[in-house]
Symmetry: C2
Subunit: 457 residues, 2 copies
């Protein structure tokens, strides 16, 4: 028995029965998240924590033995934030799935392994609503949402994950369990540590419980669908809408995405359109219809070729589902490099035009979909991994798109996180002084550097 | 010339002409904020920065000479966050007053010295709205609002300062100027450093510019005013309202505050009532009236003795102004020790009853007003500083109220910050591990400990 296996025995004995997985076949499934990082390592073991005690014991052990720990939620991350490292532990929270809804305080206390959709369903049963809605909401975990400060379609009106996290239990690098914030709508006591851990991508600690703020059930919505003959007309409509009212959703698909979705769903989308917008109002009562009417007029004024609106929930949801399905639909064309760049709203047109030019220049197909109302876009670079030249051009385009976003005063990631795939561009966005500041905080909280090494920093 | 004055010369020569104030009469006005901390020191000098360069030069100098720096906005803080320390520098941002509103991006880029009301007015001129509204909004600075994560009356629906800060320029302890975040509605690139500096009370850096998210102008509001014969009836009504809809405001005044306000304003408030609620809806169009009707019914059902609602803006604003005037009105009875405790909403009744009992037990007059909809209360302890026994009882009550809030799962400060007055209670609220975590971040960012020493930690 070598030293390594002795070490692992001491880990196994400190955890719940069966929490430690070392079967190579099972380990293989924990090497990558949806970023499919080709440089993923092979972990020593996976810990499927049954509770906070398992997480704390794992980190105490890892800290003592200086073993890297990669925290993992549902593994649906798109930036390689949960890529395993050789000889490390993958610490999965997938089995921590309790939820407690308090309808009077309007909060839910949830463990990280619950899926976003499960949180939504549990609180809906109490007449309440947890707004953040990544397109992957049916398969992504609430812990991963907090780790990446995930967004979604409703953010344009309702904000992102951090806006709903009132408190958390988090295990620090050395295994110390701390509780931050709590079920209080206002709290200025001490540093905003809760907010620091949201979006920290497992580099500062492992979140083991979240206290989430809830809203009353969302009112019935009216949905607007508009087709445009040019990208400029579509972005004009976007700016006209956001300058006039607060849509509950404002989504964009380009012609590649429209056609890919239509290939799969056959719902009668205009295949000749350059762009499609799907917008929503959830203003109370007939005001949803009024706002929808205003959005229809603004789209027409911007030059939409076809516009309609509906108050029918099923019909409206079909178009939202079409937009959510755009990524898997485009993926049918070929494997994707998935971007998440965002810009200040007035630069959205420049970003879309620039992405098109980058695709053409590098001779790769790039489709662009967007949470247009908050300037957050997902250029999807189709590539052929079996063709080295095509792959090289796709990766060049991937970098050039982030360079473009930065040049336009934007961000390399609006909602997916930096992970490992985008970290080479982070210094270009934030500059050396912010990187140094980030490093100081990282070193203060994880002096041994065991937490998700290689991610973000 | 002693060593100290030589040092000061090097500070003066590095800053804008006239930025350094050493006149003892002028210095006296910068020793305290509104907390009137009796232990305030006498600063070596006040720097009235003309811009970021002055702030950076001051911190470089202070860092090199290990001189404490107390950042100061408008000096309206209520927790002693801007109490001067002997031999230190008070670094005032009051003269940094530029603002730039970008209506298309829906942001304002503001310097910290602008008053909250001035920000509101500047953005209103563009048809936009900056929601956070501390009662002191006409005299408090936007920089101080960010430093304390200030709240106000609209927070129950619209959130607090941190929800509106998209980015900032901040000067670190050693004088390094960094830019965090920016005019992007979604940004997951790197740690949430912007959010860490909001609410850090000048202990981690000095904010020199803020990028604020704006909303479209608030729709016309309907206001509900309800009197109650008992505190229980009032808190029942509060919970009934927050369980049913999202009021744009839900404020509470007890009988002491009602009578103090009525003494000053003569607006016909029911002097015999145990409590008064002032609530608002800003739902679009006639829905504001509908929501107001629902709130009226819920108040009646909870046992209100008198309820009315109005869609008249002037009349509605008069009642809101009455609530805002409660603190100065009660202060006419005598000097106040001002609390800012908050609890999870279902514990609001327990908190109010407990505060009453603490006042009686210590034989001091305590009035209680509250941003009731988010469980944030301001018990006002009237005391007589010339009477040592009364003062001792008032201070005992001050501590007991924070102990009570902590025991109820609450916070010692919902929106004012910890400053110096409440720091003895912070460890009781957050525990030793969170204090140690806070200390690690403080030491990483301000290793010499020059930034606002004695505040928070």
């Amino acid at each position: 028995m070598d030293e390594r296996s002795i070490d692992l025995d001491s880990l196994i004995s400190g955890l719940s029965d069966g929490a430690v997985v070392i079967d190579p076949d099972l380990l293989a499934g924990y090497r990558q998240d949806w970023a499919r990082d080709p440089d993923a390592g092979t972990p020593l073991a996976v810990v499927r924590a049954r509770g906070t005690a398992d997480v704390a014991a794992t980190l105490r052990w890892a800290h003592a033995h200086k073993v890297p720990v990669v925290p993992r939620g549902a593994g649906t991350g798109l930036s390689g934030g949960a890529t395993a490292v050789d000889g490390g532990i993958v610490l999965s929270t997938e089995l921590m799935r309790e939820i407690n809804v308090d309808a009077v305080t309007r909060i839910a206390v949830v463990q990280p392994g619950l899926l976003n959709a499960e949180v939504k369903r549990a609180v809906a049963a109490e007449g309440l609503w947890y707004p953040p809605d990544p397109s992957s909401f049916e398969i992504c975990s609430i812990g991963g949402n907090a780790a990446t400060n995930a967004g979604g379609l409703c953010c344009v009106k309702y904000g992102v994950t951090t806006d709903y996290v009132l408190g958390m239990e988090v295990v620090l690098a050395d295994g110390t369990v701390v509780r931050l914030g709590g079920p209080r709508l206002k709290d200025s006591a001490g540093l905003s540590l809760t907010k620091l851990f949201v979006g920290s991508e497992g580099t500062l600690g492992v979140i083991t419980e979240l206290t989430l703020r809830l809203l009353p059930a969302q009112p019935p919505q009216s949905t607007v669908v508009a087709s445009f003959g040019s990208l400029t007309a579509a972005t004009d409509a976007i700016l006209a809408i956001t300058s006039t009212l607060r849509p509950a959703m404002l989504e964009f698909m380009d012609t590649v995405a429209i056609n890919a979705v239509e290939d799969e769903m056959r719902m009668g989308l205009d295949r000749t359109a350059a762009a499609l917008l799907v917008a929503r109002s959830d203003a109370p009562g007939e005001f949803a219809g009024h706002e929808a009417q205003v959005m229809v007029q603004l789209c027409e004024k911007a030059g939409a070729t076809e516009v309609f609106h509906t108050a029918d929930a099923t019909e409206g949801e079909a178009f939202t589902a079409a937009r959510r399905f755009a990524i898997p639909a485009v993926e049918k064309i070929g494997p994707l490099l998935l971007e998440d760049v965002g810009v200040p709203l007035p630069r959205l047109g420049d970003l879309i035009a620039g992405v098109t030019a980058i695709g053409e220049r590098n001779d790769v197909l790039v489709s662009l979909i967007a949470h247009a109302g908050d300037g957050n876009t997902h250029p999807l670079i189709v590539h052929d991994p079996t063709d080295p030249d095509n792959t090289a051009r796709a990766h060049r385009a991937f970098g050039e798109i982030m360079d473009l976003a930065i040049a336009l005063g934007g961000t390399i990631t609006g909602e997916h996180g930096v992970g490992r795939l985008k970290k080479a561009w982070l210094p270009d966005q934030v500059g050396p002084d912010v990187m140094a500041l980030t490093r100081r905080i990282k070193d203060a909280l994880d002096p041994e550097g065991i937490l998700n090494p290689g991610a973000v920093l």
